[in-house]
Symmetry: C2
Subunit: 823 residues, 2 copies
């Protein structure tokens, strides 16, 4: 295959056995990496064993994981050889991220580590520092964490190795992603479905993922399932997943590793040649405008002993090739002299004198195994994707604005309008932006506009009648939130852009994946050599208030609560309430870096409230006063503040304000809307937080605040508990009451409806209860009437669905909201 | 196989084709169920089409899902026939719970629905009500929700059908669980790994799960992956999962359903006979004390058109056998006259005159297909597990108490002590209680005691050297939190007891599953015929403060925040801080019903603080004053309150109190500990909430409260924002700062350490700053010294790890905490 620059990529190589010298170099690398990994776990001093090992050389706390490490090192060494021969751009994803010491060792051996951390030199002094810092206070973490060059996958929480790998491969046609799947991790749900990613990879425009299932047989305290099924069953499973499996097994019962090296090298060549053939065939078919069937991409099953090369038996108990090798064999290496001795013998078994020269640097044959420059897996810029990130070409979102002659005069589905904008984003960024969703992109109404410019990428069978499916496309849909999240993370971490659209309730499926990504972002912000990556953008629709078809199980607005627990430097939450505010918000999100942006938006037809000019001003401030909706008197404090965040609450607040205007015209009502939820927090707690004086200027320090919120109401208290007016704040929201019923019945069930908001105003505004008793009773009656109508007719009263500002008030709204001067 | 009562179970049946009459009955049932399902989705009136269908007969809002329904009905009809012939106790789990209208129809046809809801009679009047109530305000939800007799699985959030099915099968040796897996749901991670449950099922003591993969080919808007891979690949996948696949395909291109019925009946007989053979072979081997290999349990692949029997083409667009049949075909059936007509024709195509008699009751041949009594899948008491729930035989947890001559005088690993108690629970309840965990039961230190009485159930290969594995055992370990949660839910929903032990951070993996279970519990509490089930008990250990080996990715205490968003009637959160409080707490949890109990506990050696008598009193109250730790003067208000929740915070608070006692002996410090976190909430918000006066009596209404909390500190504010003293409350906790470092460094990083707590007391107690400046400086110095020592030595200063109350104070603590009189 010839790439754009005319270079031959994905070369095939005539299979021939490796020379003894080549195998010897691979083995030397492997032993050196193993030595350095053991040293990191155990040693404080005497790093190169230049003197007999004593108690004081051993760390007081031994914290790390050995079990998976030798396998990861073995593969790294072999991949080095192949990369060098083929000049094959490759990154390495280690599902068992617990093998951190091994990955640090490999990055050190190929020189990347020293380039990134200059004080970890390639000499005895550097080795000493390398050992000490590992899993040590003030040093580096024990996993393949962000501090590790070449890593885009910590693997602390298991299950996402393949999803990340495929995410990295999309739109990187010349990239090989070698993805090691641990057999423990293989039992997780997300990993189990991620094998099917191969139905979504395009042999032309995407790179190649080479899954390597590393069967070392044991987890923390158990054998693994996949290591304990017959080999034919395992091969059936891999074939059933759509792969052609290749098996390498060895190292058991003391087998000479050189034999295993030979088998591995041979298999790796065969696999890479098969990949080259697939790539070439696809290119040829494409040239001839022919279809080609989904390839059965190769994968490798590597079966080696857990903890391979560690002491086989310690104190009469088998350690190597059991779960006992998982973490730290010889846990008392410091205080049990016989164990100190065993540790020394273990480390000497790697023959360090042959691996490090008199200065402590890796010997030439090891250094020569490292590919050149960016071909080193630890130095590949794709694994520091921010370096490659290009800003999106963004259209002017104002061009997609909906017309709003006055608030509520027009109606749109906000996400469908956004879909028009996103279609243009796709058109302008054909290789740099993707939309991910679990079969919900159409349901969330980004379609049809998006499908007018692209398709859903689909490499499984197609049939007549299929719509919007193509071998290559910008929309990735699989019914797995885990896959959507993992793919997108991998895509972003390698320097691209995207968004994940999802039903609001089911985004909780990836709560823990969000956690890990947010943690990764927090840590990378403090690592100077990690360049910023594009933000992870959520678009949550089909939200709690409009689950008409599905009811209670589909109603959960709690992802926001989950997100705000994470570092304020990383998370942003937006609740645009109409088409123009959604456009303005999303434009902002797509320009940002290193954040997680959570945007919750409605997909149902809803009144447009702000012109684009107003929307931009409002979203820029993040919150503001809708003076056109309130009944304030200039220069006087309001009597009560009606605040809202979210599309449904905003409409209910506007309707409540209208009722108050009609019935209590002298009541000074301020209407506030919050789009950027983090504005509520103190500026001490979040970069978007308002100062106390700005907060007071909007919400008042002492007036009743009735706050209608999209989600669980207590979140508003949690965000505002430090504010002056907090004791006057009364929040309404989703109280975990729901079913399949009408939209207005849903808000009534949770006391978020306009009538109840008016009752709240009456109950909480000093002096109002006495003079508004009749109105309060009318509100009660209106609720009962609405309820009864719904039960009788199965639909809402027209009065609560056909909201239109202009039809309800004589006074035209003033031109724009105010509030900009206040905050 | 002969069961306990001497009855033959799992009978085999000589295969012979069904008679035409038998097939006709099955088809009649199927048509009736389809008719009733369509009627529920569309009709308000004219239920039996006794007059021409008009606009007014059609519901104004059409809310439900048709696509999966005919397949579910088809299987239900066929299972009825087989159950009747074999008297086989069977429950039916429908992964695509969206087929709610079908499942309601089946429960109605077999009479269960009318038994449970007496006003839905089996006559024209009842059919009318049945139709109207579906997905209608004031009626029933659209899914296989708790309101549906026979359901233990709503299927609203997809992915858990097989996990629930296996959970139901454990310890139900005579139960068949027919579990329909939708091909959409099959793409989810949890479902993809749940196939491997068959390595954990014991052919002797457990029941049988019959997975039925229903390939109808389409999701909401896409084809499904498994329907678009070649059939040999799909069969490889099922064989790789360890099953023997049987394929039934039909109904395409107008194929006569009678032909499909015949194939289905034949296959079902073959499958059930194979199951019978497996069961018999296992029983025989067991009788002969022989081992037997894990069976390749059969499974069925059923390939039928999505929306089968609905109008094939509407307005020129293909609907049947496409994703367009997913939800509601004919969305405008009310307002488009031609569509009203199509709907009428569709319903008439089922020939309702042949299905319902002149009173509107199902005709005899349909009624005769229903098995008798509890053999009806909708009436099987196993699917209303509370009916079968037996209280656990619980040992006296006091017998497992650790000796506490004085606070801190002894040290234990709390979870290991709990393990001793749980071992006895297991011994006393050999068929009614299981422990679930993702390979962490040993790491969480319930072992070794638990493995002295039982093993981990494991039906994959065993090898020499394997420990604590057996064909049958009470501990279920697979490296999938989803599986642990799903299995446990299925086990509880069918009337048994259990707990899920997990690393604290990774319980977020099942956030969404917890959501669904909590919602299920909330709804069932209002359904009189649903009997209470045992609580879902979490034991979260390896918590945020002690992730010495793993660091930041393993640090997340936010599950508590997630849980408290759900209905207060359902959720309970406990933070026992030592062995005796953990024992007392867990005894309480194992006795409770219809809750989710979240218990967070330490596994590391930690000082025991309370005698068992004190622990019981403390846990019964849920919180209390440690007067032995404070420096209060009887009759006088304290100057400051030091409160703690969680094991590590409690020790830091005690150490801080000790520093204050030594250095500011006249300062009146109250030490409070909270075990039951929900005590902090208002009694209006949670049943466990303290009254305001009781809260004030413990925390004071006006003194500074320094609250050291296990998790994210803002949760304390969220729970207490309505309290009088809230503005004086200052919470410390995990601020999302962590890495692999020492335990004390971790608390210092988050300002939760004793030194910082003392500084907080000095800063926030009126008048103290002026006279305690020196102590404050000493605290600063102590932090710096501790930090430096850790960086130099890689371990904590002995002074902060070897905490012992008695060694630090002259005054022996008083006999017991007080506080009982206060609250």
């Amino acid at each position: 295959m010839i790439d754009d620059s005319g270079t031959m990529t994905w070369p095939s190589r005539a299979p021939k056995p490796l020379s003894a010298a080549a195998l010897d170099s691979i083995d030397a690398w492997w032993r050196a990496a193993n030595y350095l990994a053991v040293g990191q776990i155990y040693l404080l001093g005497n790093a190169l064993l230049t003197e007999p090992l004593t108690r004081d050389h051993v760390k007081p706390r031994l914290l790390g994981h050995w079990g998976t490490t030798p396998g990861l090192n073995f593969l790294y060494a072999h991949l080095n050889r192949a990369i060098q021969e083929r000049s094959q751009s490759t990154i390495y994803i280690t599902g068992p991220g617990h093998g951190g010491p091994g990955m640090v060792a490999n990055a050190y051996l190929d020189g990347t580590y020293t380039e990134v951390y200059a004080d970890i030199e390639q000499n005895a002094h550097g080795v000493q520092k390398l050992f000490r810092q590992f899993s040590f206070p003030g040093g580096i973490p024990s996993h393949a964490s962000p501090e590790l060059p070449g890593s885009i996958h910590e693997g602390g929480e298991l299950g996402y190795a393949l999803s990340h790998a495929y995410g990295a491969a999309f739109d990187n046609p010349n990239l090989l992603v070698a993805a090691v799947v641990g057999d423990g991790e293989a039992e997780t749900g997300p990993l189990a479905t991620s094998w099917h990613s191969n139905k979504f990879i395009d042999p032309l425009q995407d790179g190649v993922v080479l899954p390597i299932l590393h069967l070392n047989g044991y987890k923390i305290a158990n054998p693994t399932v996949l290591a304990r099924i017959p080999e034919d069953e395992l091969q059936d499973l891999m074939r059933g997943y759509g792969h052609t499996p290749y098996i390498v097994s060895g190292g058991f019962d003391g087998e000479d590793p050189m034999l295993v090296h030979a088998r591995m090298a041979e298999t790796l060549d065969a696999v890479l040649n098969q990949i080259a053939e697939i790539k070439a065939a696809a290119a040829e078919a494409d040239k001839n405008h022919e279809d080609f069937a989904r390839p059965r991409w190769p994968m490798i099953i590597l079966r080696t002993p857990k903890g391979w090369t560690c002491p086989a038996v310690i104190d009469g108990v088998q350690v190597e090739n059991t779960w006992r090798a998982h973490q730290v064999p010889l846990a008392n290496a410091r205080d049990t002299p016989s164990h100190t001795k065993i540790l020394e013998q273990w480390m000497l078994s790697y023959r360090p004198r042959d691996l490090f020269d008199s200065h402590g640097a890796p010997v030439q044959k090891i250094r020569d195994l490292a590919p050149a420059g960016a071909l080193r897996m630890s130095a590949n810029p794709i694994a520091n994707g921010g370096l490659l990130r290009r800003d999106l070409h963004l259209p002017d979102f104002r061009d997609f604005a909906v017309d709003v002659p006055e608030p509520g005069a027009t109606v749109d589905e906000a996400t469908r309008v956004l879909g028009g904008y996103l279609a243009e984003v796709i058109r302008l960024n054909p290789d740099n932006f993707r939309i991910f969703g679990p079969d919900e992109t159409a349901s969330n109404r980004l379609a049809p506009p998006v499908y007018e410019v692209t398709a859903k990428q689909w490499n499984a069978q197609m049939k007549p009648g299929d719509t919007n499916l193509a071998r290559a496309g910008r929309v990735m849909e699989m019914l797995s939130e885990h896959q959507c999240q993992g793919w997108l993370e991998g895509y972003l971490l390698t320097g691209r852009h995207g968004l994940f659209n999802c039903y609001e309730a089911f985004i909780h499926i990836v709560d823990s994946m969000f956690n890990q990504h947010a943690k990764w972002l927090k840590v990378t912000a403090d690592i100077p050599w990690r360049a910023p990556i594009a933000s992870l953008n959520y678009l949550l629709s089909s939200h709690v208030w409009r689950q008409d078809h599905n009811g209670f199980s589909h109603q959960d607005p709690g992802f926001i609560d989950h997100v705000v627990n994470k570092s304020a430097d990383v998370v942003r939450v937006y609740l645009p309430f109409d088409a123009n505010t959604l456009l303005s918000t999303y434009d902002h999100c797509l320009r940002s870096v290193n954040y997680v942006n959570v945007v919750v938006a409605g997909k149902q037809p809803a009144p447009n409230l702000l012109t684009m000019e107003q929307a931009v001003a409002h979203c820029t401030r993040g919150l503001g006063i809708f003076d056109w909706a309130g009944t304030e008197v200039p220069g006087l404090a309001p009597d009560v503040v009606l605040a809202a965040a979210g599309d449904v609450p905003t409409l209910e607040v506007l309707a409540a304000a209208e009722i108050l205007r009609q019935n209590l015209p002298d009541l000074k009502v301020r209407v506030v809307n919050v789009v950027d939820l983090m504005r509520l927090q103190s500026e001490d707690d979040h970069p978007h937080g308002l100062s106390d004086s700005a907060f007071d200027a909007v919400f008042t320090p002492d007036k009743p605040i009735i706050f209608a919120y999209h989600g669980y109401p207590w979140l508003i208290h949690r965000l505002t508990y430090k504010r002056h007016g907090h004791e006057n704040l009364h929040a309404r929201g989703y109280k975990e009451i729901g079913t399949t019923t009408t939209p207005f019945d849903m808000v009534m069930l949770n006391d978020l409806d306009r009538y109840h908001l008016v009752m709240d105003v009456i109950d909480r505004t000093p002096g109002l209860a006495a003079r508004a008793g009749l109105l309060r009773q009318q509100m009660q009656d209106a609720r009962l009437a609405a309820r009864q109508y719904t039960r009788d007719h199965g639909e809402d009263l027209p009065a609560v669905t056909e909201w239109s500002w202009s039809s309800q008030t004589d006074a035209a709204p003033t031109a724009a909201e105010t509030g900009s001067d206040n905050v």
